[in-house]
């Protein structure tokens, strides 16, 4: 019942927010949503304590027949692959609600959508039925579209529509692949069982896997399917960007591992070399594009494109170590990118710009944003994979696990890791070092030496969520066993099983 309770809480919260009597203030609505999200996080942790890491398969399973004629069952369970993602969803949605302030329009719907997304994402991670997964996968689409299109930036309509079109195509391809699987196997059983695909010819498997790869590739996103992400991030508000980068992109990588990789191991093995090259291209393109950006948010968005490529590389290599690295990368990218977006959000709120041609010297101890800048340095160090932080563990595991299988693709991806240091040091150097200024350099010494740069100070309540995330990033880097203990058995079993099947 724990999983059902976990799924019901955010939906109950959504209903409570929508039906709350009277006209509650935005801060009251925020507190209500935070209360529900705290319960959700508590239940996620309770699930983690009830979970037995020594068992490789699904646990805490619940199964109820729903629409048997359609093959749609309420079948949920958790394993070492989904548990870390459920935990990170619980944590980051709570962070998103906490950092949401000054919602001036339709706060009731805003917080309801936040809870709805969180519940849908949990549902997708915990589904054991393909159609149920698809329902949850689609369920988060409209709320996110609303969050970008209603509470986004000046160009929000364009970005939200682009997101909607891309993700709708993604959904269609995934549904098509699921239905195709039923059609080709002649079975209406949509349970998560790799057995059904074994009856398929290789050609059929490749088509279905191809559809899934493109479908999930849009969501991850992989180059050249990434086009929607930088626009969505640029126009989304900070809490939505935190959620989008930290949690929603993981739906793509999770889906690829759970359904592409696990359902079609033979076809996966055939496509693996091409996937590894695709991953390397994605990593390099994302990194090089990030270098060219002058908008801090777009830079972080492109870094996501690059860093999510590591997960595809790890999945393509399919070794126990690389798959563990994939889980680590999903979690560490979730935390690090959420931290980066949160900090960029603070910079934007205080300075009114994210332009790297304009911002300078924000580390100024008294008149700048010194703590924000310091946390930004921690975040970029983690993202660049410096030892002692989460990014190092995940990248090391991915590279170590993949290099024996795909040495060239791995080496190219390692170059991408080096490029991460390039663009993030550019960001830190331009925006945080030098003399404080929030105007473009004019060449006029008098204007550039202005003393009247007035930035509002960052209140502790604005920094605490970032401090919590940074602590998480360092803790995973220092004590990686806390995470590997949850996932190692599951990822090893997954690798052994799929290698055997292929």
């Amino acid at each position: 019942m724990i999983i059902t309770s976990l799924l019901l809480i955010p939906f109950a919260g959504t209903l409570a927010l929508l039906l709350w009597p009277g006209s509650p203030t935005p801060s009251r609505l925020r507190l209500i949503s935070i209360a529900f999200l705290v319960i959700q996080l508590g239940l996620s942790l309770a699930m983690a304590f009830a979970f037995d890491p020594a068992q490789p398969g699904m646990q805490l399973q619940e199964h109820h027949s729903w629409l048997p004629g359609l093959g749609l069952d309420y079948a949920v369970g958790v394993d070492g692959l989904s548990l870390p993602l459920v935990l990170i969803n619980g944590g980051l949605t709570l962070v998103s609600a906490v950092i949401t302030r000054d919602i001036d329009k339709r706060p009731r719907i805003y917080f309801a959508m936040l809870l709805l997304i969180s519940g849908a994402v949990n549902g997708a991670f915990l589904s054991e039925n393909l159609l149920l997964f698809f329902l949850f996968y689609e369920l988060e689409l409209i709320p996110l579209w609303l969050l970008v299109s209603v509470w986004g930036g000046a160009n929000r309509a364009y970005a939200a529509t682009k997101f909607l079109i891309f993700t709708a195509i993604s959904g269609m391809l995934i549904l098509g692949a699921f239905l195709g699987l039923a059609l080709l196997t002649g079975s209406a059983d949509f349970s998560l069982s790799p057995v059904s695909s074994e009856r398929l010819a290789m050609g059929g498997q490749l088509w279905l896997l191809g559809a899934l790869l493109i479908g999930f590739g849009i969501k991850i996103p992989l180059v050249p399917l990434h086009n929607w992400l930088p626009d969505a991030h640029t126009q989304a508000s900070t809490p939505v960007s935190v959620l989008l980068a930290g949690v929603l992109l993981k739906l793509g990588t999770y889906g690829m591992l759970r359904f592409g990789f696990q359902l079609f191991p033979e076809a996966w093995a055939k496509l693996a070399p091409a996937l590894a090259i695709w991953a390397a291209i994605s990593v390099l393109y994302g990194s090089l594009a990030a270098i060219a950006q002058t908008d801090m948010k777009r830079m972080v968005a492109y870094s996501s494109v690059g860093h999510m490529g590591y997960v595809l590389l790890a999945a393509a290599a399919n070794t126990p170590l690389s798959l563990l690295g994939a889980v680590f990368q999903m979690v560490s990218h979730g935390l690090i990118s959420a931290l980066l977006f949160l900090l960029v959000g603070i910079v934007y709120r205080k300075t009114g710009t994210r332009d790297l041609d304009v911002l300078r010297g924000l580390l100024n101890p008294e008149k700048g944003l010194p703590l924000t800048g310091s946390l930004m340095i921690v975040a970029v160090m983690a993202s660049a994979g410096l030892p002692g932080m989460a990014g190092f563990i995940s990248e090391f595991l991915v590279f170590r696990g993949s290099i024996t299988v795909f040495p060239l693709a791995t080496l190219l991806s390692m170059v991408g890791s080096g490029l991460t240091a390039v663009y993030f040091l550019l960001l830190v150097n331009r925006a945080f070092f030098g003399r404080l200024a929030v105007t473009p350099p004019s060449g006029d010494a008098v204007a550039d030496a202005r003393l009247d740069v007035q930035l509002a100070p960052v209140a502790p309540r604005e920094t605490i969520p970032a401090l919590v995330l940074a602590t998480g990033v360092v803790l995973i880097g220092l004590v990686p066993s806390s995470l590997s203990r949850l996932s190692e058995v599951a990822t090893t079993a997954l690798s052994v099983f799929t290698q055997g099947a292929s």
Binding site: P365, E366, G434, R435, A449, L451, V453
Partner: protein
């Protein structure tokens, strides 16, 4: 990190050279006379006076009691080695005497005026010879070290002489600034011209004070700067101090990169313009910005009225040291203003054309130097603080 040339760092000619020269020649204060400026300048100089008192006591203690001590680990304790004092020192509940040493090094390195000339004289070399001979009798380390590096101990003695002279200079300035605050409270000083005149009178009154310094070695008193050297307060110490600390200074490490090979820092020390009147207050409290130490010290001794004034501006307590630095720069312009007025060749109201020409040339030379200083703080240009 972009490389910024030296002239771009300090150049802010909000008030032009002609206007500065006009202000100096007609006896107006450089800093605009406003009630806020009076509060800032008098308040900051009062806290500066408190800090200079501690600096002065410590510098004189160092020069007299830590003379040629190879390991002066207790030099900031002024001889009080009680556990409570050591504990307060360790938890940094103390004045940053490092800043006093920083100023001394600037003065020693730029080396202008009568004091520096005396430190290079034969008479001073003879003083050193006698001091070293006395010291070597009982100190085996110095006994062994001196023949190996015969220039080392004289250089340390020169440094000690500058330390003592700066201590004597700050003794006068500390008393002067504290008296200024008392005079302001008594209603005797109420405008910026009053402040400038008060400081000028104090400087003139102390101008001829003798500067001398001796050390006691094994019961024998030996002169480092003997009275017969004829060193005096204003021309031999005050003016070199203004030259070294207010005007020339040294570029700060930290926020700006200089390419010395491309001569972005002038090879001629005389062309340096990184001093207090040119410095950018914005990076205060940043790494490698020594005046941060002084701002922190002044913050600890800030008069309540000025503290309250800062609290309702910009970030309140959050950027208070930057604001103190901005006020300090204004007050240093007042001190410079007073020094220029006090050293003007002839009275400003004289009618002799030759005297007027001399005054004009003198004021012009100063105006030229101050034109490229951070004189936007003077408030002479509307819209600039």
């Amino acid at each position: 990190m972009p490389v910024i040339s030296a002239d771009l760092v300090h150049a802010n000619s909000s008030v032009g050279q002609e206007e500065l020269q006009r202000l100096l020649l007609c006896g107006e204060s450089l800093l605009l006379d406003t009630p806020d400026h009076v509060l800032e300048v008098v308040g900051v100089l009062e806290s500066y006076g408190e800090v200079l008192d501690a600096y002065s006591i410590n510098l004189i203690y160092q020069a007299e009691s830590q003379f040629l001590n190879p390991f002066p680990i207790f030099k900031y304790l002024d001889g009080d080695l009680s556990p409570a004092k050591i504990w307060r020192h360790l938890i940094h509940d103390r004045i940053n005497f490092e800043y006093a040493e920083y100023c001394q090094k600037a003065m020693f390195w730029h080396g202008t005026g009568g004091l520096d000339a005396y430190l290079d004289s034969d008479a001073f070399a003879e003083n050193c010879r006698r001091i070293i001979a006395a010291k070597r009798k009982r100190d085996p380390l110095l006994f062994a070290l001196h023949p190996l590096s015969p220039g080392f101990l004289p250089e340390l003695i020169r440094s000690a002489a500058t330390i003592h002279a700066l201590g004597q200079f700050w003794r006068v300035m500390s008393d002067l600034f504290l008296d200024l605050a008392k005079a302001e409270r008594a209603g005797k000083v109420s405008t910026i011209p009053d402040v400038v005149a008060f400081i000028k009178d104090g400087l003139v009154a102390a101008a001829a004070n003798p500067i001398h310094y001796g050390v006691s070695i094994e019961g024998e008193y030996l002169w480092v700067l003997p009275p017969e050297a004829g060193l005096s307060f204003l021309v031999d110490v005050a003016v070199p101090y203004v030259e070294a600390v207010f005007l020339r200074g040294m570029p700060f490490l930290g926020t700006v990169s200089f390419n010395a090979q491309a001569q972005q820092i002038s090879p001629d020390q005389g062309q340096f313009s990184y001093g207090a009147l040119y410095a950018d207050p914005m990076p205060t409290m940043g790494a490698g910005i020594p005046p941060s130490l002084l701002m922190q010290d002044m913050y600890r001794h800030l008069p309540e009225a000025l503290h309250q004034w800062y609290l309702v501006r910009t970030r309140g307590e959050g950027d208070i040291r930057v604001k103190i630095c901005m006020s300090f720069q204004k007050s240093m312009f007042c001190v410079t203003n007073a020094a220029i007025n006090g050293t003007m060749p002839h009275p400003l109201d004289c009618t002799d054309p030759a005297a007027q020409a001399a005054n004009t040339a003198y004021a012009g030379a100063w105006a030229q130097r101050l034109a490229s200083a951070r004189n936007d703080c003077l408030g002479r240009v509307p819209g600039v603080a």
